[in-house]
């Protein structure tokens, strides 16, 4: 094949490395007694992640994961696992997709949504751990991002409503929260968040 051009790989070298050699994978038959397990996404939407954590002295002592998804999703979960181990629960709870993609050296823009599941699964695992151990969950809600300022609608509220099946479209969300009925400036952001959640939790 004669040619004068040679393209870079689709993703960064760090992504490639994590995709080819995923870290902290939850291997078949491995003895791993998780203290908390979180699962988000669905096979139908093309991305699904399961994260198990071990907690010692308020820190993530160990973590295992499984991911059904594309290279970005696999690499993001793998990178998340390396970052989260050793963190306090509070630090881990505040791990963001931005921090993960930055550590990966960036992802193409249309691939960014593939990286949002890893931290969500991690938070779900922490919630699960706290609930199982009867510990009051002071972390829940601390990571919320305000989207509709007029009506005080956060990304977590939208996520909960979609997850519980109470909301399937914009009209439903508006009826329940009143979002986007005052100044209307948040409409694009609301749609973006809603579409992302609908994608993750299935339509």
């Amino acid at each position: 094949m004669a040619s004068s051009f040679m393209a870079q790989w689709v993703y960064t070298d760090v992504v490639k490395d994590h995709f080819m050699n995923p870290r902290n994978l939850w291997k078949e038959g491995e003895e791993f007694e998780a203290d908390g397990i979180g699962e988000v996404g669905s096979l139908a939407c093309g991305d699904q992640m399961r994260v198990g954590i071990k907690v010692r002295d308020g820190r993530i002592a160990d973590l295992r994961w499984l991911t059904y998804g594309c290279a970005s999703a696999i690499a993001s979960t793998s990178m998340m696992s390396e970052m989260a181990i050793g963190m306090t629960l509070e630090e881990a709870y505040h791990l963001t997709p931005q921090m993960i993609t930055e550590a990966l050296g960036g992802l193409p823009e249309h691939k960014f949504h593939c990286s949002v599941l890893g931290d969500k699964a991690l938070r779900a695992a922490i919630d699960d751990y706290l609930e199982k151990n009867g510990i009051e969950n002071r972390l829940k809600g601390t990571t919320a991002r305000m989207i509709c300022e007029c009506k005080g609608v956060t990304d977590h509220m939208i996520e909960e409503l979609v997850k519980s099946g109470k909301v399937h479209d914009f009209e439903g969300l508006q009826a329940l929260t009143g979002c986007c009925t005052v100044c209307g400036k948040c409409r694009d952001k609301i749609m973006e968040e809603l579409n992302e959640q609908l994608h993750i939790y299935g339509k």
Partner: protein
């Protein structure tokens, strides 16, 4: 560097060495084929020769052959012709096409819907084959155009275009077929199908990219879509791309000479791969039609449950094997292949679909290599997956 196996021939093909040589032999013919001087006339003679070759390839009269930039332009042109007729007040104001047409048709149709035009989509069965009974219900005397492809690019399923054309004609509608994927793999005859329009692209059968054909029956409506000079009887303006046209002519000649051999070789490789995959890998579904009569010979589309397509594609790429996938992740959208979904495939399986498409330069050794590399890749991805397939 290990072996390199190109199995994305439905995406595009390598130019044949014969085509490249032929283009080089004629690189002195740079004259504007519309000019009256000798060089212009020589260039035009080459274009006439190529037109004749392409006409023979699809069993059509040469005066109906219009050179375009490719099948995308050809399809767009056909829809534009009928859009104009509707705008002019034709009482036939509805277009019908199948749900599995190429994006060059589907997206054009959606654009027309957005502009208020009436368009209906005829469904396909579980093998991706057009439901003729539903087509017959959908086509009425208010329909001006019916468009159904010869063979599908993703599933490989061959459509009953002759029957579809008869349904269109029984209601006085014109019939267009996109033959892009079928050319060089199965016989395609405008006369046999009864097509009023046909689209094809040079680069799908070892010719150059950026050159294609629209066939329009001399008795069917035709109108300019690209306006300008008087090339192609004033129907398609723009200085002739001489070398590309000579190239598609040569490719057409080669396709005719090798058709049966090519078909049998492609089908043998496809079948060896299909059987090999089913023997070595559990939980695999073969998409599209199952027999040689109803499937393009070089296309094998399979779904691996519990393994996502982009991951499979990239791991195969690391081994030098080039394929394509119907996974959403590889397309930039959130939805996987509409062609596979239209055939009723489960969404998860559409995300896990891989298309292997064979071409003239593949060998049985390529199949052996894929059968060696693929099973451990699927196993590795499934081991990582939230769904354990055991």
């Amino acid at each position: 560097m290990g072996r390199y196996v190109y199995l994305d021939n439905n995406g595009t093909t390598a130019m044949a060495a014969e085509v490249i040589d032929f283009i080089h032999q004629n690189d002195g013919l740079y004259g504007n084929a519309s000019s009256m001087h000798s060089l212009g006339r020589d260039a035009a003679a080459g274009i006439d020769w190529a037109r004749g070759m392409v006409a023979r390839l699809v069993d059509a009269p040469a005066e109906g052959i219009y050179f375009t930039s490719g099948a995308t332009e050809s399809n767009n042109t056909v829809f534009a012709i009928f859009r104009d007729l509707i705008d002019e007040g034709s009482c036939r104001d509805r277009i019908v096409l199948s749900t599995v047409e190429h994006p060059a048709s589907i997206e054009t149709a959606k654009y027309l819907i957005g502009k208020g035009y009436r368009v209906d989509f005829a469904p396909v069965d579980h093998e991706g084959r057009l439901d003729l009974a539903r087509l017959a219900e959908l086509v009425g005397d208010d329909v001006c155009l019916v468009s159904v492809m010869v063979g599908n690019n993703e599933s490989g399923t061959i459509q009953p275009v002759k029957e579809a054309a008869a349904i269109a004609h029984s209601h006085g509608a014109f019939f267009h077929t996109d033959a892009t994927q079928a050319i060089g793999k199965i016989p395609v005859s405008v006369k046999d199908i009864g097509a009023d329009y046909l689209s094809l692209s040079g680069h799908k059968f070892y010719g150059p990219k950026g050159i294609g054909v629209l066939y329009a029956s001399p008795s069917a409506p035709m109108g300019p879509y690209i306006h300008g000079g008087h090339q192609e009887k004033g129907m398609r303006a723009g200085t002739y791309n001489n070398q590309a046209i000579y190239g598609i002519g040569k490719a057409a000649e080669l396709a005719m000479a090798n058709l049966q051999d090519e078909h049998d070789r492609l089908w043998a490789m496809r079948e060896k791969l299909r059987k090999g995959i089913l023997e070595r890998i559990p939980d695999v579904i073969v998409n599209g039609a199952a027999d040689a009569e109803h499937c393009l010979p070089g296309t094998l589309n399979v779904s691996f449950s519990g393994a996502e397509g982009e991951s499979i594609l990239l791991y195969l790429d690391m081994e030098g094997i080039e394929v394509s996938t119907g996974s959403a992740c590889a397309t930039g959208s959130l939805e996987p292949s509409y062609v596979l979904l239209a055939a009723g495939l489960d969404v998860e399986l559409a995300h896990g679909s891989i298309r292997f498409s064979f071409g003239r330069y593949n060998t049985m050794e390529d199949v052996d290599y894929v059968l060696e590399k693929l099973p451990p890749i699927i196993e590795k991805i499934r081991d990582m997956s939230t769904r354990k397939v055991r």
